[in-house]
């Protein structure tokens, strides 16, 4: 396992930031392992995305614009990634820890007879052996997991955990042949994009999240969004807010929602139940605004401001805006 292969998740050539984080990390790992850094990009818009990826330090980018990838659910992707892995030779396959990434990783476990380290936030190479650092049990433990000897290994990568750095001398872009003799049965009949193709919440450097204390859907727009915008971040929510139908579940942070680790997390009107805590406790700085100073969130926040969020948040937004001008 000395090479590294990055599976590039994208829609029509638009890829989340984590792809570039993985491409950068792939180079570092390949250098330490004494191998090459590869990427595989398939589906509509791949050629165009491959050009963009060339500014990252990869050796080879395997590309096919095959429309089957966008017509059938995941099976063609898995076939292509397997083909690229065979072409790259024994390798560590890096996949984003997203909904799609988890599916790809699982399929590769069976396909490549490989172990998987999930939600990696760091790597250590020890005498040619690959070890991944991963928060587990909702962050209650930081585990070190080694991939045993074998031709292939898989790691899913937490967005925002690694840095992306362009550079390198330009990868060679190679067409990868369509795997033959395959029939696909799960057809995508309708594909609806609700976002911008980016993983807004997981990749945001700052998250402003709201909970039950906001009392309804409006404050998410009128109170939280302007603050998030000033911070260059995204709006999130607790399960209580999502369950109440105030925001879509795609904004939910916690055990049953998304795990985020932004530099700055501002929790507004969130009590901080364990359900929520496990989704955000690895954030850099945590600030809570709550009317109850005894709420559990105060126990793991760097700063808790006890007061009226409806009065504090607009003032804070103004202060930050003014500091920029």
């Amino acid at each position: 396992m000395k090479n590294v292969l990055v599976y590039v998740q994208h829609k029509g050539g638009v890829t989340p930031k984590v792809t570039f984080e993985m491409a950068t990390e792939a180079r570092k790992l390949a250098d330490q392992l004494g191998g090459k850094a590869h990427a595989v990009v398939v589906g509509k818009g791949s050629s165009q995305l491959a050009e963009q990826l060339k500014s990252y330090p990869l050796d080879t980018i395997h590309v096919n614009d095959d429309a089957d990838v966008d017509t059938f659910l995941l099976d063609p992707v898995v076939d292509y990634v397997e083909a690229a892995a065979r072409a790259a030779g024994p390798s560590l396959v890096l996949v984003a820890n997203t909904l799609t990434g988890k599916d790809v990783a699982g399929r590769l476990v069976g396909r490549l007879n490989a172990g998987v380290c999930a939600d990696a936030t760091d790597f250590k190479i020890d005498g040619g052996k690959i070890e991944a650092i991963m928060p587990k049990m909702g962050g209650a433990a930081i585990t070190t997991c080694a991939l045993k000897d074998g031709d292939y290994g898989i790691a899913t990568i937490r967005p925002n955990a690694f840095s992306a750095q362009a550079g390198g001398s330009g990868a060679s872009v190679q067409a990868i042949e369509k795997p033959s003799g395959k029939t696909y049965t799960v057809r995508i009949e309708n594909d609806v994009e609700e976002g911008t193709g980016e993983l807004a919440l997981e990749e945001a450097p700052a998250v402003v999240a709201g909970g039950r204390g906001l009392g309804g859907p409006e404050p998410f727009d009128t109170l939280l969004k302007p603050l998030a915008k000033e911070l260059g971040g995204a709006v999130g929510a607790s399960r209580a807010a999502a369950d109440a139908g105030w925001v879509p579940y795609s904004l939910q942070i916690g055990q049953t929602g998304k795990t985020v680790s932004p530099n700055l997390y501002i929790a507004v009107g969130i009590s901080g139940a364990i359900q929520h805590k496990v989704g955000m406790r690895s954030s850099g700085t945590i600030i809570a605004i709550n009317k109850d100073g005894a709420a559990p969130i105060a126990e793991f926040s760097d700063l808790t401001v006890v007061g009226d969020a409806f009065a504090i948040v607009p003032e804070l937004t103004k202060l930050i805006a003014a500091s920029k001008s």
Binding site: E131, K136, T144, L147, T156
Partner: protein, 262 residues
């Protein structure tokens, strides 16, 4: 239609977890083992499909867990599953995804299914990779994160969540799916259900029944857990009482400035 739902028995997700650094395992003392609450959504999906399909549709619950946890499975039977199968064997202890999904796939082949609903979303160290690995070993189509499902003859019409939106897909049976929490709140077990569950069968399986041709457990895994440590302690920070909006905002702004976050 024969529906099989895989469930996990996990430490109560609502309990605060602690890790024992010497055993690298969770401290179980004082933490109850429960039917994974998120698997109740998978079971709810199965029960809804059974109600819609009617006829001779059955729902079987499958779990891989120590025999001592057998009674924890009754909750699934009380909610309405027809029967259960429990794969228990000390040889399975410490299995990683590669080994777990391999053993599970053999058990599921033995049980047989038209529709497999894979639960398992949890916070007890799961990887999210098990459904994919199972689908490979079972050579069955897989549709994940399903929030709506309708059986139409020999195929399924499914709506699934994606990273950036949603899709509708058509899949043939037999097929495996995983459900999203948006599928709908799981039902409560009725008193009648709870009473009835006592008479339902929980069939035991061991590794010896599966005819595996490779080892499972720690030595039959592709990954090795080297260390498990608690995260750097995150102590209680400052608490500031804000009499009005301006005071509160200033406290936060100064704090952000000090940490160079604005």
């Amino acid at each position: 239609m024969k529906i099989v739902v895989t469930v996990k028995l996990v430490p109560d997700p609502n309990a605060e977890k602690r890790i024992d650094t010497s055993t690298k395992r969770l401290v179980r003392t004082g933490v109850e083992t429960v039917l994974n609450p998120y698997d109740e959504y998978a079971l709810e999906a199965a029960l809804q499909l059974k109600e819609k399909a009617g006829g001779d549709t059955t729902v079987t619950v499958f779990a891989m867990a120590p025999e001592s946890l057998k009674e924890t499975l009754r909750k699934a039977l009380a909610m309405g599953a027809d029967d259960a199968v429990l794969l228990s064997d000390p040889a399975l202890e410490g299995s990683d995804v590669w080994a777990t999904s391999y053993a599970m796939s053999h058990a599921l082949k033995k049980i047989g299914f038209d529709l497999l609903i894979v639960g398992g979303l949890s916070d007890d160290g799961s990887t999210g990779a098990t459904p994919g690995a199972l689908a490979e070993y079972l050579q069955t189509p897989l549709v994940t994160n399903v929030r709506k499902a309708d059986a139409e003859g020999n195929s399924l019409k499914l709506e699934r969540e994606t990273d950036t939106g949603y899709q509708t897909v058509a899949a043939p049976l037999p097929c495996a799916i995983t459900t999203a929490l948006t599928f709908g709140e799981p039902r409560y077990a009725s008193l009648k259900g709870i009473m009835g569950a006592k008479k339902k069968t929980i069939a035991p399986l061991t590794v010896g029944d599966l005819g595996l041709d490779r080892e499972v457990g720690v030595s039959g895994s592709k990954t090795a857990l080297l260390a498990a440590n608690p995260p750097a302690a995150r102590g209680k920070g400052q608490v500031v009482e804000a009499a009005d909006g301006a005071t509160g905002a200033k406290a936060i702004f100064d704090f952000l400035k000090e940490r160079k976050l604005v």
